[in-house]
């Protein structure tokens, strides 16, 4: 009478049971495995990274070159030449990171960003020395598209043969800076993978430290809440300079922003100095430029002494070998 009843073979019954057993075992296994892996989510630990890109000192060469003249590109060539030539700094096959200041939505005449001709010449020099890649980048303050374009640096650097990189949020890695004040901080990964790093800051006025020069330029490799660094600006500067230790620093003093820095705006704030100050001692360079153009003593820039104590260089620029030349 039960016409819709079905005949179930032993085999079918066994398969059914096995199916349930398999699914049950799978679910249980997965459940036990997942329950063992439950922990409070924490941000991933900051990684340690390569520090320092310096080259060996050479007592026969000057440590600072101060070159004055009309053509920024020629000044750059001459400055590098005085310091021993680009081949002293760049080896064939190097990945070179050139770090200008491209922080602000300003044109070259407004002197808030590094002179594009200087940047371009540095790139050409590196390429001539056989660098595998030359990368130009900066973590801008204003909108990077505007900063890179209106500063003239993107165009000049590309024409000179560099890779111009506008930072993307995906390109930052949490790095342990191992500083006394700064520890875990997001750093643009290009800074972590370069063989050589050339710092090309521009000399500008700044209300907190008096000037912003070479060491302050390292703000431009950081992401994250870097506005907090001002709270301990001297300690932060030293930690950053200790982390990077550039191969070469060229402080662009062709046009300096004498007032209303670091943004400026008015051409009245700009003074034409037609000078480049280059060297291998970042502390002496900052000390020299601060004294030469803002008449600031070492005592008013505590970070210089702190950096010297860390072994990053000397603030007694009078004592270093210096080559001053006018073309």
């Amino acid at each position: 009478m039960q016409s819709d009843s079905i005949h179930l073979s032993r085999r079918d019954a066994l398969v059914k049971l096995l199916r349930v057993a398999g699914a049950g075992a799978g679910a249980a296994g997965l459940g036990f495995w997942l329950s063992k892996h439950s922990w409070r989510p924490e941000p991933t630990l900051a990684m340690a990274a390569k520090r320092g890109h310096t080259i060996a000192a050479d007592p026969t060469l000057p440590e600072i070159a101060v070159i004055t003249g009309d053509d920024p590109a020629q000044l750059t060539r001459q400055a590098v030449e005085e310091l021993g030539g680009i081949r002293r700094f760049i080896a064939r096959g190097d990945v070179v990171l050139v770090k200008p200041n491209i922080g602000w939505d300003r044109t070259p005449e407004q002197a808030a960003n590094t002179n594009p001709d200087v940047v371009a010449e540095v790139i050409r020099q590196c390429s001539n020395a056989g660098a595998k890649r030359v990368i130009v980048t900066d973590v801008s303050c204003n909108d990077p598209r505007r900063c890179f374009q209106r500063s003239g640096i993107a165009e000049a650097a590309r024409l000179a043969g560099a890779e111009v990189v506008l930072p993307d949020p995906a390109m930052f890695k949490d790095v342990d800076l191992q500083g006394e004040t700064l520890r875990a901080w997001p750093v643009l990964d290009l800074f972590l993978n370069a063989d050589k790093i050339i710092n090309v800051p521009i000399a500008k006025h700044h209300s907190l430290t008096g000037t912003t020069l070479g060491m302050k330029n390292w703000y431009g490799m950081l992401g994250g809440p870097r506005h907090q660094l001002h709270q301990k600006i001297h300690e932060s500067l030293v930690d950053l300079a200790d982390f990077v230790r550039p191969t070469l620093t060229i402080v662009d003093c062709y046009r300096i922003l004498a007032r209303n820095g670091p943004t400026g705006g008015s051409l009245q704030d700009v003074i034409l100095k037609k000078t480049l100050v280059a060297g291998t001692d970042p502390v002496a360079l900052d000390a020299y430029v601060a004294k030469a153009y803002w008449n600031l003593e070492v005592s008013s820039l505590p970070y210089l002494k702190m950096a010297a104590n860390r072994g990053l260089g000397t603030y007694e620029f009078e004592k270093v070998r210096m080559q001053i030349k006018t073309l």
């Binding site: 939505d105 300003r106 044109t107 407004q110 594009p116 303050c141 204003n142 909108d143 990077p144 598209r145 505007r146 890179f148 374009q149 209106r150 500063s151 003239g152 640096i153 993107a154 165009e155 000049a156 590309r158 111009v164 506008l166 993307d168 949020p169 995906a170 700044h206 209300s207 907190l208 809440p225 506005h227 907090q228 001002h230 709270q231 301990k232 600006i233 007032r259 209303n260 670091p262 943004t263 400026g264 705006g265 008015s266 051409l267 009245q268 704030d269």
Partner: protein, 546 residues
């Protein structure tokens, strides 16, 4: 060679215009250039092109401002042919129409066979759009651009530009992140390549976020979902541009000719009808509802339907009910007085109603702004957002600057370049005059910054900071510093620099508020007082130049 079927041509036209629209929307963004360093930045494409061809925007602009802004005259290119041909624009060009067309083509439980045929017969409720049109144009006469809430291009740019595309961005970036954070170098490389390709095609320069974005998206999705019940519900019942084009097509010389002898009531024309205009024999054709999609001509197995110039067959025009027309008129008349008789508009303006640079004084601004979101989409700093309550109900979805999310870039005037109606009047960088305020003739000012000294580090916490001063873009800077000796928590004396603000130099760009390290509620903030567009909303008796 056989000439392609007209419906095929129509689909081709829809696809071309849809992708043109999408392309222009995606390019409503300054993408930067590594090859030129021109200091004047302009977008390379006329990204608000579709608005200039929108007769509804043009008529609303003309009614509310008694003039036609830049380029809106182009809308005649759509309006005049519509008078001759009918609503070809809805069926062949309108990208929102094409989206609805696409989603209407999916069958659903409620749209099958007989039900589908029934739902495609002309319905009385299709006249709703005419009443909405009447109400919004009457409102335009009394000086408001609220027609933009419903204008199809405003709706589309606002929904897709401020919600759908940012959501797409988010999803794509999440997927790319999986690749880019892989532990295998090869997968990372693939991710990098994908990022490059998607970045060139689809992604914004950086992930945009918009206030109210989710609501704009949900409204859009809802309107799309209606197509699963009733084909092109939006176009049939709600679109005020469709209504306008329907009304002017009254004199159209192109019409549907039905050959009643051939009709055997097979209803196949109704199966694919887009406009709900009764192409079937035995009943009059509703000409203003027809989108000229030509599906019925294509579908009729007896070849009993054709479009013809001077058809000589009577069609039904727009058939409105007097009472509803009067209701529409009354609603339109009431919008402005009701919205502006509350205190928000005149006497108690929201302090955070910061308008983009070049924006007209509020009264003129509200008259022209069509809430389309072009300015918000183009803003490189993601600073402009659709208002919810800052500008009152009338100002819903009008742009406000939110400095905490993004400040107004010193040299940027892109929002004024893309605004299709002149609510943000086109200005040049030199008109903005921010980098050299002292020498600028009449710098644009968006408001004035104020300090919350209880939250400011040098004022309240004996801590160095002055990030606001560093970022202040004017020269001389509007933020100035006073060194003072303070006692810190351990009792030690130290010197910090405390910031002050000179309102005569402040342009209200919001860079200080954006950069303030006090993350959640910044210690410096911008309010609208001092905005150059308003004569009333001022602080200083004489605002010194610079």
């Amino acid at each position: 060679m056989r000439f392609p079927k007209p419906t095929k041509l129509r689909v081709l036209s829809q696809i071309v215009f849809f992708f043109l629209f999408l392309f222009l929307l995606l390019r409503t963004e300054f993408r930067g250039s590594l090859t030129v360093s021109a200091s004047e930045i302009r977008l390379p494409y006329p990204v608000s092109l579709f608005f200039q061809f929108d007769p509804l925007v043009a008529i609303s602009n003309a009614l509310s401002s008694h003039a036609l802004y830049r380029g809106l005259l182009w809308s005649l290119v759509v309006l005049i042919p519509t008078m001759l041909l009918g609503r070809f624009f809805c069926g062949w060009i309108c990208p929102l129409g094409s989206i609805h067309h696409f989603f209407s083509s999916f069958k659903s439980e409620r749209k099958r066979g007989k039900q589908l045929i029934d739902s495609n017969r002309y319905k009385r409720w299709q006249t709703t759009k005419y009443y909405l049109l009447i109400a919004s144009l009457v409102a335009a006469v009394s000086g408001t651009g609220v027609v933009g809430w419903l204008d199809p291009f405003s709706l589309l740019v606002r929904s897709v530009g401020l919600s759908i595309l940012p959501a797409t961005d988010h999803a794509l970036r999440a997927c790319l992140g999986v690749f880019e954070h892989s532990r295998y170098a090869f997968v990372q490389t693939v991710g990098g390549a994908l990022h490059f390709i998607l970045g060139a095609l689809l992604l914004s320069f950086r992930q945009p976020y918009f206030r109210l974005g989710i609501w704009l998206g949900l409204i859009f999705v809802f309107l799309i979902a209606l197509n699963f019940r009733i084909t092109r519900f939006w176009c049939r019942a709600l679109c005020p541009l469709g209504a306008l084009l329907g009304i002017v097509s009254r004199w159209s010389v192109l019409g549907l000719v039905k050959n009643p002898e051939h009709c055997n009531d097979c209803n196949r024309c109704l199966l694919r009808c887009q406009g709900g205009d009764d192409p079937i024999g035995g009943v009059p054709w509703h000409q203003p509802e027809c989108h000229l999609c030509l599906n019925c001509v294509d579908e009729c197995p007896e070849h009993g339907l054709r479009f013809q110039f001077f058809p000589g067959q009577k069609a039904v025009g727009v058939n409105l009910q007097r009472r509803k027309v009067l209701t529409g008129l009354a609603a339109g008349v009431a919008v402005v007085p009701l919205a502006r008789s509350t205190s928000g508009f005149a006497t108690e303006r929201h302090e955070r109603l910061l308008r983009p640079p070049g924006a007209l004084d509020e009264e003129y601004f509200l008259a022209r702004c069509i809430r389309c979101g072009e300015c918000m989409k183009v803003c490189p700093n993601n600073a402009l957002h659709p208002a919810f309550s800052e500008a009152g109900i009338e100002g819903l979805w009008t742009p406000v600057l939110v400095p905490r999310i993004g400040y107004c870039e010193t040299s940027c005037v892109l929002c004024s370049q893309v605004c299709p109606t002149g609510a943000i009047w086109e200005i040049a960088e030199k008109d903005k005059g921010w980098s050299d305020v002292a020498r600028a003739d009449k710098p644009v000012r968006l408001g004035t910054a104020f300090y919350d000294r209880g939250r400011c580090l040098p004022w309240a916490m004996a801590t160095d900071c002055i990030v606001c001063e560093e970022w202040c873009p004017t020269s001389p800077k509007a933020i100035y510093l006073q060194p003072v000796d303070v006692i810190d928590a351990t009792g030690n004396s130290k010197q910090v620099k405390q910031p002050y603000l000179d309102p005569s130099r402040c342009v209200g760009c919001g860079a200080c508020e954006y950069a303030c390290p006090v993350q959640d509620r910044p210690a410096v903030y911008v309010t609208s007082v001092g905005e150059s567009r308003s004569r009333a909303n001022q602080i200083l008796l004489n605002r010194r130049k610079g």
